[in-house]
């Protein structure tokens, strides 16, 4: 029987959650025994090659491309997990949500004290995805099945969650893995 597939993506995140995935250390060998990695920055596969059992999402949606990727994940994954603060609640990127988009861009590219931009243009290359009016947590865009808290969630928590999902068992996260003080 073919191994189930696992896909991951980092949307409006800092890749910290992916670092935490890698932090499972040598258990990654065990993980490779259990699953095949599909679309993921870990193996650099860009497009889905088939249906996946689990999709791990880091980061919320700050631009149209994030939305596109997230929708592809929803279409291709049985179980979708919001991993970490940004995917779950928007996190640091969502700090811009109270400021109109135009003001954010003006501050970043025109008016900021350290800006050097003689052209006075806000980057507008068609290759650059358009920003959304605000940063959305993933569950406001697609249905999310599970949420894994943390910034980032500890490797042990990610491991426990993925293992439980693969074995179809309830996720038992001990207190130490979900306390952050």
């Amino acid at each position: 029987m073919a191994k189930p597939k696992l896909a991951t993506a980092s949307l409006a995140g800092c890749f910290g959650c992916h670092m935490s995935i890698l932090d499972i250390d040598e258990r990654i060998l065990q993980l490779v025994e259990l699953v095949d990695f599909d679309k993921s920055p870990v193996d650099d596969i860009k497009e889905f090659t088939g249906r996946c059992r689990i999709g791990l999402i880091e980061g919320g949606c700050c631009n149209e491309e994030n939305v596109h990727v997230l929708k592809k994940f929803r279409e291709n994954c049985d179980i979708l997990v919001s991993v970490g603060e940004c995917a779950t609640m928007g996190g640091i990127p969502a700090l811009r949500n109270t400021i109109p988009l135009k003001e954010c861009l003006d501050e970043a590219f025109l008016n900021g004290p350290t800006v050097h931009n003689p052209s006075g243009r806000i980057p507008d290359d068609p290759e650059i995805p358009l920003l959304l009016n605000k940063v959305y947590p993933c569950h406001e865009v697609v249905k999310i099945d599970y949420f894994l808290p943390g910034c980032p969630p500890p490797a042990d928590a990610i491991w426990a969650a993925v293992a439980a999902l693969l074995e179809d068992k309830p996720i038992a996260l001990p207190y130490e893995l979900i306390k952050y003080d």
Binding site: N63, E64, E65, V67, H68, K71, R74, E75, L80, P100, L101, K102, L105, I122, D124, P126, L130, L131, L132, N133, K134, Y136, H139, E140, V141, V142, K143
Partner: protein, 605 residues
């Protein structure tokens, strides 16, 4: 000027014995004198009462009727609860805005007029209504609003707006209000005056021992009329038995539950019955002081009630050796509120009586153990205390046989909304909603809100249920909604009210009610999803379970009861789910700003 201010403030404070716990009265008088409580005034009050200035500021900022900045000479408070909305309140409000040239919440440039919204002022049976300074105006129309502004602009005093007095004591020279009583049905206990013998209840009580009085109230099976239904005799026993250096009887006349106005009618027509009940309570629990906490909206009744108290003092019913009972020295003072719904909650009410913000206190200890100034206190509803007088007059057996066998006595109901005969109905416990609707001329109702916003909304399948403690318990508010009414709009209005009235002390209530309202707004706007209902259900349970006082513990009830009884109203508005996508997310809308900035269209939508 400032010497003058200090002198006036000092006079006011002396009037209340420079007692910081009378700060409500001090601030109220200072506010009446100056129109607002300035920074200098707050300093002067703090100095005179020997209390930190922040206590004064805190109090002023808490109550809706106090202001720290100059207010207009004439403050028009438009009652905006749901019943006023249903009676075309909008037309009245818009007319006021047009005529004054300001929006609600603003003050005219010349400082002559302010327009504000205020929650229920206890006039739902004669809505739309408004308070103009302390003067109540009822049954407003756009035309009447226009006339009012014209009269006020020509310099007439707000009191001059009352052209015709209402019935009964509303026409009393100390009341002079256009308010009408609308007593639609007189029951045996409170309003049927034929066999009432004023003074007999008190006389009988004083002939017994306090323990016997408490036993009589217990035997009568009298339960609190404010809504919670706690046995009154038991409350008194606890209060009497608690250790303390003095005891206090407080009558809760802060009826702020939208849709309730029965206490207003009792205070207007049966003040002696109430004060007699308070005196009996004082005797039973061993108190020397009674406090009537009167909501600020009923300030127009204050001079009248003070006069009734003075008459009772003059005839020896209050004061040294009250009613001729040697050693029983009981007197009553009136504590005015200042526009805070939460003060109807007994511990918040006690805070207010103590000269503090109306913050609720943690229970236990219950007021019966540690209430007013940390001493044992019995807090009773106006109607409960009236029942007490009658129980002592006619005997507990007489009282307990009224009703449906389980719930004893009569209940005063304030009926308003879509019905032909809104007003106060005194009915024996056990009447069904259907019978009530027929009486009130609202039999075509699609829903009835029983017990005000903090009660529950029931539909026709429940109209056979009875008004009593065991079935549909209510403090007395009954709002009727007829065919064509948008029930979710009603719920939205209720939640708006709770968001506004939450005292902000605890997070579940302060934040939770806001989140409930937000999600509700989203569903009403047609952007809700199926998961929103599950979210709401979870949220209302949390707010109910985790809030500190009765406000937050009941504020989610409009949502809870409509989710249960009118779920189809919600479901009809939900978006259809589409293959794991959240239907409420609109990519087109979300990239609109960026499209405008970059002057190109999104490639994804």
């Amino acid at each position: 000027m400032s010497d003058n201010l200090e002198k006036i403030v000092s006079e006011i404070c002396t009037r209340y014995g420079n007692d910081a716990s009378r700060m409500m009265d001090v601030v109220r008088d200072a506010h009446a004198r100056f129109g607002f409580v300035s920074s200098a005034c707050a300093d002067a009050i703090a100095a005179a009462l020997k209390t930190p200035r922040v206590e004064v500021e805190s109090l002023v900022s808490f109550y809706a009727f106090f202001a720290a900045h100059p207010r207009a000479k004439v403050v028009i408070r438009l009652c905006n609860d749901i019943v006023d909305v249903m009676h075309d309140g909008h037309k009245v409000w818009e007319t006021f805005e047009q005529e004054l040239g300001i929006k609600t919440g603003e003050t005219t440039k010349d400082g002559a007029f302010s327009l504000e919204y205020t929650p229920c002022i206890g006039m739902c049976d004669q809505a739309p209504a408004a308070l103009i300074n302390d003067v109540v105006v009822t049954r407003l129309t756009a035309d009447r609003a226009r006339e009012i502004v014209r009269e006020l602009k020509s310099g007439s005093d707000p009191a001059g707006l009352v052209k015709e007095f209402g019935d009964g004591n509303n026409a009393h020279e100390l009341v002079r209000a256009m308010v009408v009583n609308n007593i639609r049905e007189r029951g045996a206990v409170v309003f049927d005056a034929e066999d009432m013998q004023p003074g007999t209840g008190l006389k009988n009580a004083l002939a017994m021992s306090p323990a016997e009085v408490i036993r009589a109230v217990k035997t009568a099976r009298l339960r609190g009329r404010g809504g919670a239904g706690f046995p009154a005799g038991m409350k008194w026993e606890f209060t009497r038995e608690s250790a303390g250096s003095f005891r206090t009887v407080i009558c809760n006349a802060d009826e702020g539950e939208p849709g309730t106005f029965k206490d207003r009618v009792i205070l207007t027509e049966r003040p002696d019955l109430l004060f007699e009940g308070m005196t009996i309570a004082g005797y039973a629990i061993g108190a020397e002081q009674g406090i009537l906490y009167l909501r600020g909206e009923y300030a127009y009744l204050q001079p009248f009630l003070e006069n009734v108290l003075n008459e009772r003092r003059a005839s020896g019913l209050l004061g040294q050796n009250s009613a001729g009972k040697a050693g029983f020295n009981f007197d009553i003072r009136i504590q005015m509120g200042a526009g805070a719904y939460v003060c109807g909650e007994e511990t918040a009410l006690i805070s207010s009586c103590e000269g503090l913000r109306g913050d609720p206190k943690t229970r236990p200890p219950f007021p019966a153990q540690r209430g007013y100034r940390g001493q044992p206190t019995a807090v009773n509803n106006v109607e409960t205390l009236c029942c007490v007088t009658r129980i002592l007059e006619k005997g507990p057996g007489w009282f307990s046989q009224i009703g449906n066998g389980k719930s004893a006595g009569t209940k005063l109901l304030s009926i308003s909304g879509d019905c032909k005969k809104p007003g106060v109905y005194e009915i024996p416990f056990g009447i069904t909603l259907q019978q009530l609707l027929v009486k009130a001329g609202g039999a075509d109702a699609i829903a009835v809100q029983v017990g005000g916003p903090s009660g529950s909304m029931v539909g026709p399948k429940d109209f056979g249920r009875q008004i009593c403690f065991e079935d549909l318990a209510t403090g007395g508010s009954i709002m009727i909604f007829g065919p064509g009414r948008n029930l979710l709009q009603v719920v939205q209005k209720f939640m708006e009210f709770f968001v506004e009235e939450s005292c902000g002390y605890c997070t579940p209530c302060r934040v939770g009610n806001r989140l409930i309202k937000e999600r509700l707004d989203r569903i009403i706007a047609g952007k809700g999803e199926k998961t929103d209902l599950a979210y709401l259900e979870q949220l209302v349970e949390m707010v109910k379970a985790a809030s500190r006082c009765g406000l937050g513990q009941t504020s989610p009830n409009p949502v809870l009861s409509t989710l249960k009884n009118f779920r189809q109203c919600y479901e009809a508005l939900l978006l259809k789910e589409t293959g794991g996508m959240q239907p409420a997310f609109d990519l087109k809308e979300a990239v609109k700003d960026a499209e405008n900035i970059a002057a190109r269209a999104s490639v994804h939508c």
